[in-house]
């Protein structure tokens, strides 16, 4: 029978649960498509944080400054002999650490509280972790201002080495995102993930040479501290500013490696389980 072969109208997209690309690829494409949402989340986080506060953005800068002042006053008598410009040492370490802790905590928190949204409308699940890292990154960049000012005031020599800091920040972002994704995935299944992680984070912070220099650790125990990925990432961030030198290639290798591994692992684990989250939350 002769039939008009009518072509179906061209369709903009097809969702077929049987023919799917690898989960990570799908998620990356979706994240790109929803980039405006990520931007909105970051802006919303910043706005709701500052809209009603008197001090506004100044608070982001003040917070680590105040911590630094307190810690300096408390510890300056213990460490002063071995650490020059101790306030800068602490402040730079704290700035980087705050970025990491707030990024990972927020990533987990947003995921857990996203239930009402996820149960109604589709969004790529990784937008929470990504926007958390983005928000913390903005806060980090803002916190660099007082850091630089204090450094200059206290007479730290700013060398061209600081130009490598963006790379250090990049590694921090990758690492935080990877850990954040892993934590988000776990938090969906385990309700007590958040308080458990907070304790773990505190221990982690003391295990990282932020308040103290690594030199005070006994030689035979140093290797334990060198198992900590944050040690390398923190050093990459701190050294160029504090010491004015570019850290050893080994630090870059290990730091970069940790960042890549964390991000890859986090992305794979998270996206593999992404379709279950709406059932759980």
């Amino acid at each position: 029978m002769a039939e008009m072969n009518v072509k179906p109208p061209t369709i903009s997209e097809i969702y077929d649960t049987l023919r799917r690309k690898p989960a990570v690829v799908e998620e990356t494409l979706a994240v790109y498509r929803y980039r405006e949402l990520i931007r909105q989340f970051v802006v919303r986080n910043l706005k709701t944080r500052y809209k009603r506060s008197l001090l506004g953005i100044v608070w982001t800068m003040l917070n680590p400054l105040l911590t630094m002042i307190v810690l300096t006053l408390v510890f300056s008598n213990i460490f002063r002999f071995s650490v020059e410009n101790y306030p800068v040492y602490i402040l730079s370490g704290l700035t980087a650490w705050n970025f990491f802790s707030s990024a990972t905590n927020t990533a987990m928190g947003e995921m857990v509280w996203s239930g009402s949204l996820l149960s109604r409308i589709y969004v790529p699940k990784s937008v929470f972790a990504i926007s958390a890292v983005g928000t913390s990154l903005v806060n980090l960049l803002i916190a660099l201002i007082p850091l630089l000012i204090i450094s200059i005031i206290l007479g730290v020599k700013i060398t061209p080495a600081v130009l490598v800091m963006p790379v250090a920040v990049l590694f921090l972002v990758m690492f935080a995102l990877g850990i954040g994704l892993l934590l988000s995935a776990a938090a969906v299944y385990f309700a007590d993930m958040i308080p458990v992680y907070e304790v773990f984070l505190m221990l982690w912070m003391y295990a990282t040479p932020i308040i103290y220099p690594i030199e005070i650790i006994p030689e035979n125990l140093t290797w334990i501290f060198k198992l900590n990925p944050m040690y390398y990432l923190l050093t990459l961030f701190r050294e160029p500013l504090y010491n004015g030198v570019i850290p050893d290639p080994s630090y870059w290798l290990i730091g970069g490696g940790c960042a890549c591994v964390a991000l890859t692992l986090g992305a794979l684990v998270f996206t593999a389980r992404a379709q279950e989250y709406a059932y759980r939350i």
Binding site: E13, Y15, D16, L18, R39, S116, S119, D192, Q275, A278
Partner: protein, 501 residues
């Protein structure tokens, strides 16, 4: 699994959705590890959907009907990619826009403007798109003066309007509607419907979920009945609705098979139609008076006394209807989302097949005057108390340019003009049948003037309604009575009723 059918825009193949709930609450990692080691982790499976297979063609309006908890929202969520199917295959060909739970993505602290941008981003649109559509969105929602205020200051109606405007800002290829037709006032509802009509004309496929039979029946051409997560019926909307309706009412005892059988059920006491003018009573309630020229479409009046109570309403019941359902006076069950329960409405229709969605262009109101029986007072403040007798009168005149009017206790409740756009090009019948059908009747008669039966049609929703509605003293008049005449009718009949009692 079957291959992709290129005519289908939506295709579900043996889809199942399972929630896995731990038998005992596992509160944390430590407990999880312990229990897993002890092999004491026991899950309880809850299958929200099972064996769901159907497809929807391009441009269809597809209905999903079922009681609460049947899985309708779950099914929509699978379509919207909120839930990934546990089993089976889902294919959605085209951009999907959900109208699920309008306003769900709104952040109360942000302004209307900011929320528009947020929600457009939630739907995956770029900032540029939102910029372009912004003005049309606030125009549609009629919120130009409030757009800079925080959403927490909006009324629920305003939020709903904004939600619909944002969600329908760009015409999607597949539109998912979940009971949202009930939000806002009737004028805004009509706006929403008009926009959906437009989309349909441009090729959008629409899926509507409702537990109201009336909604599904009005708008959809095909439907699916879902119960306890499984498909109970799938196909033409009339078939599905009939099966679903039987759930609420026992089916008629013996369906009529032939025209002869049908005629035999009809009580033979037909009134002698008067030569011209005048009025006469129908003495037999529970009979159907075949289509005769007792009444014609050009003018007439019917009045009856009605009393209603608390019981769950039954099926549709026609008091009069023309052969082509252009003129209908009926009592119908209707689910009111505002009241959250079933109510009844009595309605007078001035023309138009129910399948409005397919034929409707432009903006206008559906040509019906109706009153909710369980709502207390009617729109015009006419009191409709339970357990009391009320005089209902309906008049119609001057087809095709005339009006139908609904009177309650002598007061005019409302009037509507006949709208020829609903004609669908069909020839108008001159005959109107009158009466209430007996319970055992499941068909419809088509008869000639001389009383000979031409055809007995099955599959009609018209049946007598017994649940809590009593009718007496049905009176027909071959003329369309005026306001004054209706009032004097009321006075006369009330006086007579008082004398009788």
């Amino acid at each position: 699994m079957s291959d992709i059918n290129h005519n289908s825009v939506i295709q579900f193949d043996s889809v199942a959705v399972r929630y896995r709930l731990p038998q005992e609450r596992v509160s944390g990692i430590k407990e999880y590890a312990i229990r897993k080691l002890q092999r004491r982790l026991v899950y309880r499976d809850f299958w929200a959907l099972q064996e769901i297979s159907f497809d929807v063609k391009l441009g269809e309006v597809f209905g999903i009907v079922g009681q609460n908890g049947a899985g309708k929202s779950t099914l929509l969520k699978v379509m919207a990619r909120v839930l990934y199917p546990t089993q089976g295959r889902v294919i959605m060909r085209g951009k999907v826009a959900p109208l699920l739970e309008l306003g769900g993505g709104f952040h109360p602290e942000l302004t209307g403007r900011e929320n528009i941008y947020l929600n457009m981003a939630l739907l995956g649109h770029s900032r540029q798109t939102t910029d372009e559509l912004f003005d049309s969105i606030i125009d549609f929602a009629e919120l130009a003066n409030f757009i800079e205020a925080p959403i927490r200051t909006y009324s629920t109606g305003m939020t709903a309007r904004l939600g619909f405007a944002v969600a329908s800002g760009i015409r999607p290829e597949i539109l998912l509607v979940d009971e949202v037709l009930s939000v806002g006032d009737s004028r805004f509802q009509q706006k929403c419907l008009d926009r959906m009509y437009e989309f349909q004309n441009q090729g959008t496929t629409i899926v509507i979920v409702s537990h109201s039979m009336a909604t599904i029946e009005t708008f959809c051409s095909r439907a699916l009945w879902l119960d306890k997560g499984r498909i109970q019926a799938l196909g033409d909307v009339n078939d599905v609705i009939q099966l679903y309706g039987q759930l609420m009412n026992p089916p008629p005892a013996e369906p009529v098979k032939t025209a002869e059988e049908a005629v035999s059920i009809i009580p033979r006491r037909l009134p002698a139609p008067p030569e011209r003018g005048g009025s006469f009573a129908i003495s037999e309630i529970g009979g159907i008076y075949p289509v005769q020229k007792i009444l014609d479409v050009n003018q007439g009046t019917i009045s009856f006394w009605m009393r209603f109570g608390d019981e769950q309403p039954g099926q549709f019941a026609a008091v009069t209807h023309s052969d082509d359902s252009r003129y209908v006076i009926y009592i119908a069950p209707y689910y009111s989302p505002h009241l959250g329960r079933h109510v009844r409405q009595i309605a007078v229709r001035a023309g138009g097949n129910r399948r409005v969605f397919d034929t409707f262009y432009g903006t206008s109101e559906f040509p019906e005057v109706y009153v909710l029986l369980d709502g207390g007072t009617s729109k015009h403040g006419i009191s409709l108390a339970k357990g009391q007798w009320h005089l209902i009168a309906a008049t119609w005149d001057g087809y095709p340019t005339g009006m139908v009017r609904l009177y309650i206790n002598g007061q005019l409740e409302g009037e509507k003009a006949y709208d020829p756009r609903y004609d669908q090009g069909n020839a108008l019948t001159q005959w109107i049948a009158t009466g209430f059908r007996p319970g055992e009747w499941s068909g419809e008669l088509v008869m000639h003037e001389d009383g000979s039966v031409v055809d007995a049609r099955p599959a009609s929703n018209l049946a007598i309604t017994e649940s809590g509605v009593e009718i007496r003293d049905v009176r027909l008049n071959r003329q369309s009575l005026s306001d004054a005449e209706i009032q004097s009718l009321m006075a006369r009949e009330t006086r007579q009723a008082n004398e009788d009692l």
